[in-house]
């Protein structure tokens, strides 16, 4: 059923229309159904099924704006909250940064329908593959850890300018970490349907990585050429989007990309696009203001910083089209569906074979900015770190890197042909493996 057809949505909009003519408002109705099975030591030890609805309401009188979030389905509670917002608007000072809500755009529909994941099918799949998966891992004298989950979610938005939009999406994810003592291997698959998951590939990859990792040696910290698997590249891209590609932080000169428009910031072989329509991307095709998020934006073209993403407020400020990148809260527009590509790609195996001496990274852990304006980030390697010597992988202990992530991606030797989707907040990234000339590893993790 469409969210807008629900009794709560109908009654809420009717109440606002009847009682708040002359006011500006924006209402978002959210719906989420999710189930997660978590496993550790080859047992499903935790699980969580949740069916949630919530409503976000913003009311504005001139530049006096107040917001509320409600997860109640009781219309009387919703009306009480709207009345309380009215009281807040009458008390509150003007917010000079408020610039109204978006007008309805010419095009709303992405032309794409997202499939819905069926709970029964999810349970059947769980019962069919977990026993053989756990048995396979036990037979290798190892233990399986990870999660299997799906989420169906949707949002309907209405505002006082007549914009009304609704979109739904779904994803299924399987993550496998195989471990023995302190050696581990990891892989993941995320897709729109259960059928599209690559469960066998993930099990094989995580198992193989773990088996290869026994008896890791220690290497000296320093600069090394680095082969980054798609998951590791995605970890870097997520951080780049969060600390550097947000239009608000660029505008407020808090970003590495501030005042660098049309400047070379990455290797000339790399293109980065915000593309919710990419076939592997998970997207709702609209943003948190209900504005369509259906047009790709070329952010980095041949390594040159070309464009930013916009919500209604920043589109007005920069006289640019709204790209549908409004997010909840005050963080401003941030790209959520990044796709990293290159005109020329190579088989990942061939990329590794050309490395004389370098580091192979499966994924990173606990990345945090050290100095966002300098692009300085620190993180640790995890679940499969190897020394590449003459194209051969030898297990090594995990490492910490501290480096400028723009510099790391400014020296690309080769780009892989193994692009893969990795989910994150409000979307995800599609990225291949990368072979980079150098990355600064500052610490070796102890025993």
């Amino acid at each position: 059923m469409k969210i807008m057809d629900s009794e709560l949505a109908q009654q809420t909009v009717q109440y606002l229309e009847e009682n708040f003519s002359g006011w500006e408002y924006q209402v978002s109705f959210h719906q989420k159904e999710s189930t997660m099975l978590r496993f550790a030591q080859s047992n499903v030890h935790q699980n969580n099924r949740s069916i949630q609805t919530s409503t976000d309401i913003e009311l504005a009188q001139g530049k006096r704006v107040a917001k509320t979030s409600l997860d109640t389905r009781n219309i009387d509670e919703v009306i009480r909250s709207i009345q309380s917002l009215q009281g807040i608007c009458e008390t509150i000072a003007e917010n000079n940064e408020f610039s109204g809500y978006p007008l309805p755009p010419l095009q709303i529909d992405s032309g794409k329908e997202n499939p819905v994941v069926d709970a029964k099918e999810f349970y059947e799949k769980s019962l069919s593959f977990f026993p053989s998966y756990f048995q396979k891992i036990k037979n290798a004298s190892l233990e399986a850890y990870g999660s299997f989950l799906y989420e169906n979610f949707g949002t309907a938005c209405v505002n006082s300018n007549g914009l009304q939009n609704e979109s739904h999406s779904s994803f299924v994810q399987f993550q496998s970490q195989i471990m023995k003592d302190r050696v581990s291997g990891y892989s993941q698959t995320t897709a729109k349907t259960i059928q599209d998951l690559s469960i066998d590939r993930v099990i094989e990859e995580s198992l193989e990585t773990c088996l290869k990792g026994t008896s890791p040696s220690i290497i000296e910290p320093g600069y090394y050429p680095v082969f980054l698997k798609p998951e590791a590249v995605s970890d870097i891209l997520r951080m780049m989007a969060f600390i550097s590609m947000g239009t608000k932080s660029i505008d407020e000169k808090r970003s590495y990309l501030s005042e660098k428009l049309n400047t070379q910031v990455l290797d000339s072989c790399l293109d980065i696009t915000e593309n919710p329509l990419h076939p592997e991307q998970i997207s709702m095709y609209m943003d948190h203001q209900g504005y369509p998020h259906i047009h790709p934006v070329q952010l980095i073209q041949k390594g040159v910083f070309r464009d930013m993403v916009f919500d209604d407020k920043f589109a007005k400020k920069y006289h640019k089209p709204n790209t549908g990148n409004a997010l909840p809260g005050n963080m401003g527009p941030i790209p959520t569906n990044l796709v990293l590509e290159s005109a020329t790609t190579q088989d990942p195996g061939a990329m590794i074979s050309q490395v004389e001496k370098g580091i192979y990274v499966t994924r990173f852990w606990y990345a945090n900015p050290v100095s966002p304006i300098d692009g300085e980030v620190t993180a640790l390697t995890r679940d499969g770190t190897f020394l590449i010597e003459k194209g051969q992988l030898k297990p090594i202990k995990n490492l910490r890197y501290s480096d400028n992530i723009f510099e790391v991606l400014s020296n690309i030797v080769a780009v892989g042909s193994d692009s893969r989707f990795n989910g994150s907040f409000y979307g995800g990234t599609v990225a291949p493996s990368l072979l980079c000339k150098k990355m600064r590893f500052t610490e070796v993790l102890p025993e």
């Binding site: 099975l37 550790a40 699980n47 949630q52 609805t53 019962l127 850890y145 970490q177 100095s371």
Partner: protein, 480 residues
Amino acid sequence: MKNKLISYIELAKSYHVQYADIRFEEIHSHDLRVRNESVDSSRTSVQIGYGIRVLKNGSWGFASTNDTHWKSIEEAIRQAVQLAEIAAQVSSQNIQLAVIPVVDDCVQSVAVIDPFRVSLQEKIEYLKEASSAMKIPSIFLREASMSFRKLHRFFLSTEGSFIEQTRHESGCGITAFARNEKGEMQSRSYPNAFGGDYSTFGYEFVQKTDLTGHALQCAQEAVALANAPLCPSGTKDIIIMGNQMALQIHESIGHPAELDRVMGSEAAYAGTSYMTQDKVRIAQLASTIVDITADATVPGAFGFFAYDDEGVKAQKVYLIKNGLLEGYLNSRETAFKTGERPMGAMRADGYWNYPLIRMTSINLLPGNQTLEQMIRDIDDGLLFDGIKSWSIDDRRMNFQFGSQYGRVIRKGRLEEVVKNPTYMGESPSFWNACDAIGDESQYHIYGVPNCGKGEPGQMMKLSHGTSPARFRNQKVGVIQ
């Protein structure tokens, strides 16, 4: 409410479960932020719903709903049972719970002034005044914020425990952003970064925090940072001030002391722990002057509560005693496995999530040194103040932390300001290098509103009591 919960628990029992509990929660919150004396956002929220946890055939199942009609709750109970049955079919575990006393209790909030009864106008004026007091040259952005929550929780288990708890949460803070002539930016916060400080007191906590009284110093330090040289690199003696010590305790003692991590059930996401069970009362994980407790019994602390989400009464236990690993944060499930007593650390961030082992108030007990004494005994050192950046490995061994504000210590004196100060180390050797802890007069319990753990991700509220402390021969300044 009790009768409703009894009927739900009776329904759960009809599915032949070994154990079940149900939580009903109603949470009201209000977040208010002022930027450059203008109200940036005023956001309220209401969350109401049920979370049902069942143990059947040796496996857990959990489901939640915010639809409070009988049919939806009935369906949630059925789904929790179904998940437990699926988990049992594919697993070989046999989860059992340590025995706890059955209780029937009602516990009220310790707030004196209900923040939800303070007028919006008064709150805005308070923040605008603090923001305005940061208005000095080079400060281009001034932020002041406060946030409040009011929780009403009910808990009922198949064992017969019924608990009703109310709790208030109050927090506030300011941040000044300065830019130098080259356009480089630095920020400084009071009383801490990430929204300030938090407690389970009422609005009186905000009044006591006195944002305006500290605003000018906060702004001046931001300007000093914007014009300061970079933190030097090398090996130095360091002093870590209280708000940064809270992070140090959190990441390198609190998380590794969670017994679910130690036993491997969080390995895939949050990771494991260096505090393995073979180290209990044997391994010297810190110097002998270090005593650290998990104490949920201090009224007003952000990690204060009466009962956890398994109905276990809040307690004070030692995690580190005389530098030795003394015990863990546990749950009924992990306590059964170790044969220990449950200490009351199983908490969920809301009715929509199952409880996990979480920190309560993890406190480094005060020592006997004044700050001046600690500085006086340093020939070549650095002082770190205010949380800026943190990263630690999945066993909680190797860390790199950054502070907002650094000061060089030279021959026993505090000297110039340095920006982007960072230090790094390995948890046990770092804590073994602790040779001085500040006295009781410097002790403060810092509220942490955003501790992430678990899948789906949960944000827990907790706290850390600490004074400043000194650590000898630490690596500093990695980024240069």
